[in-house]
């Protein structure tokens, strides 16, 4: 534990203190010069140093020069921690996501990081590992270390989320809404995306779709399922649901089963699943889209390079991150929450979908 750096001068500044001043061992930030030191060296008060460092107020040119020189010489850099305490803000925002392996959140992270960075803010990230209880602890803590929070919490029960939301403002929600609250929310209209995919497939004559379901608990999967069922009921096609998952291997593992349902088109939970399935299908000697069609969701970067390129619904992942920053920034400045926005996925028709095969290809081998 102990760092052992007892040194660095036992009493600098504060010469009026009655007893020798206590100095702690570990130095928080690497750089060690403090504002007092600079003030001493420059022969001015700490307030003046502060003024110079912040370019605030107007200081006599000569003093400015002296302070700058001292700061330079001492390699002084104001302590962000001390400033945070004094100012009541940290110039940091937090992002909490269930799973950093998810390309969706990776891009949100990128967008948020870039946007916040441009505004001179830092980003604290934490992964909740899909663990709801841990998540609230994490959220509260992260929030207190920062000025605002972007939270992607696909699993937390609504009541819990609602209760939490108060202590978390400024807060922006991703892919969740709290009905009746004024917590801004940015989400993807998965249902709309699914409807586009379905329409596209029906247009090709498909009448039996199999859905490779994502994680049960995730709202984004629930949205898709609901949209699919509604469409099946409304449009009168057959829908088979197959539990699957969210990753390559899940899709790969379920290829055979998907085929065996007799469906003529596969609607995968996302692109990774679709890709895994595609791979499995290849291995089974099945030709896409001649024998069966398949769609993804998300349009992650490689989706247009698969063989055949994947028909999918694109969502503006990066933009979500940037917009999240925009909302947060507004909130942090006391502006009103504004309307929630739901990004509409855009259908990208590529080559993994095609007309329904003439004869049954699966029933009689």
């Amino acid at each position: 534990m102990s760092v052992g750096t007892g040194g660095r001068g036992l009493d600098d500044g504060d010469q009026q203190s009655p007893r020798p001043t206590r100095r702690r061992g570990g130095r928080p930030g690497g750089g060690r010069a403090t504002i007092s030191r600079v003030a001493d060296v420059a022969g001015v008060s700490r307030a003046t140093v502060s003024r110079v460092m912040n370019g605030t107020s107007t200081v006599a040119p000569e003093l400015v020069a002296r302070v700058r020189a001292a700061a330079e010489a001492l390699d002084y850099e104001p302590s962000p921690v001390a400033r945070s305490l004094a100012l009541g803000r940290t110039s940091t925002v937090s992002l909490i996501v269930p799973d950093l392996a998810n390309p969706m959140f990776q891009d949100v992270l990128r967008g948020l990081s870039a946007a916040a960075g441009e505004a001179g803010h830092r980003l604290l990230v934490a992964e909740s590992n899909e663990n709801v209880e841990e998540e609230s602890i994490l959220a509260v803590e992260a929030r207190r270390r920062s000025d605002g929070l972007v939270l992607a919490s696909p699993r937390a029960p609504e009541a819990e989320l609602r209760a939490l939301s108060e202590r978390l403002t400024p807060l922006v929600l991703l892919n969740r809404e709290i009905p009746g609250s004024n917590v801004p929310s940015l989400s993807v209209d998965y249902a709309a995306g699914i409807r586009e995919i379905v329409a596209h497939l029906l247009g090709y004559g498909h009448r039996h779709l199999v859905y490779l379901a994502g994680p049960d608990a995730s709202t984004s999967n629930q949205d898709r399922v609901a949209a699919l069922r509604a469409a099946a009921a409304a449009d009168g096609f057959k829908l088979t649901e197959l539990p699957c998952g969210a990753m390559f291997e899940d899709g790969h593992a379920v290829a055979r089963a998907a085929l065996d349902t007799g469906a003529t088109a596969i609607v995968a939970y996302n692109d990774m699943v679709a890709f895994g399935t595609l791979s499995g299908l290849h291995e089974l000697g099945v030709s896409v889209p001649r024998d069966i069609s398949i769609t993804g969701f998300d349009d992650i970067p490689f989706a247009r390079y698969t063989t055949p390129p994947l028909t999918t619904a694109s969502i503006p992942r990066n933009e979500l991150g940037r917009q999240a920053w925009g909302r947060l920034w507004a909130l942090m400045n006391g502006e009103p929450a504004g309307h929630n926005v739901r990004f509409q996925p855009r259908l990208l028709v590529r080559d993994s979908t095609g007309p329904v095969p003439e004869a049954g290809r699966q029933e009689e081998p």
Copy 2:
């Protein structure tokens, strides 16, 4: 700016202050109860509250109860910022990477985040956008907000890095070493990976390889190039170098050109490039590995699901992040730096490589 919550009692605690105490508008962390408030409510001193909250020292059971009750009632949560200032540590570490879009760094991020999280530390991330100047500013600032820094700086000139490294300790370097310094470094032995790939290809009879080069400035590309050239010289095979890039589209764009070199095997900078090229090759009607072989690098998750599955060199990206945490933690506790480690890639032979084709397949269409 102003939040407008002027309230929350103008003078709690500090009743000995001669003039009315000043209260700031913005409240830093959402939760608002302070230690003084809790102390007042519990009828004890702030010191005692502190002791109870930290489970330190031994406090009379009755007082503990009173404090806990008060804290509970007030929904009190100690301010991390204030603690950071008082303790001289932030329980946060920083990660700076050139590019968050790079799967390599995404995984490092995950590993680091997970490991740090388990140890009760938070993670600050920043992207330097390959911008060397900005990077040093960022690094210093991030470092001061945290207790240690993990830095991936593939481009910074060595001198600059060396100069910087002092103000950055505890510091762990990724894929960079500072010769003669004691800054711990974790890196991937790209050269070794390349040598394995080359040996594998030579074993199949290939005598003309084309390398799809990554970004010029990146050391990881330079390592590969150097290893390739050395091998070409030593083993007497022909090596063609083709400028390419690091992304899918780069690989895709260069497929035709790669083919035109007449090489019988393609060594791609990484998996994404290989996948892009594979896609381009498919479109050109070229069969892999019958007509030409191709290798990737990294073994990113989808590499085993491409068609055909990609022969590549796997590197422990996640482990890099975890180990980085381990090193940082050691450093933060004043332990010595230890030896640098270079992770050896492991060759994964899959189906994108095969024997050299019998006849020239490209020369006469």
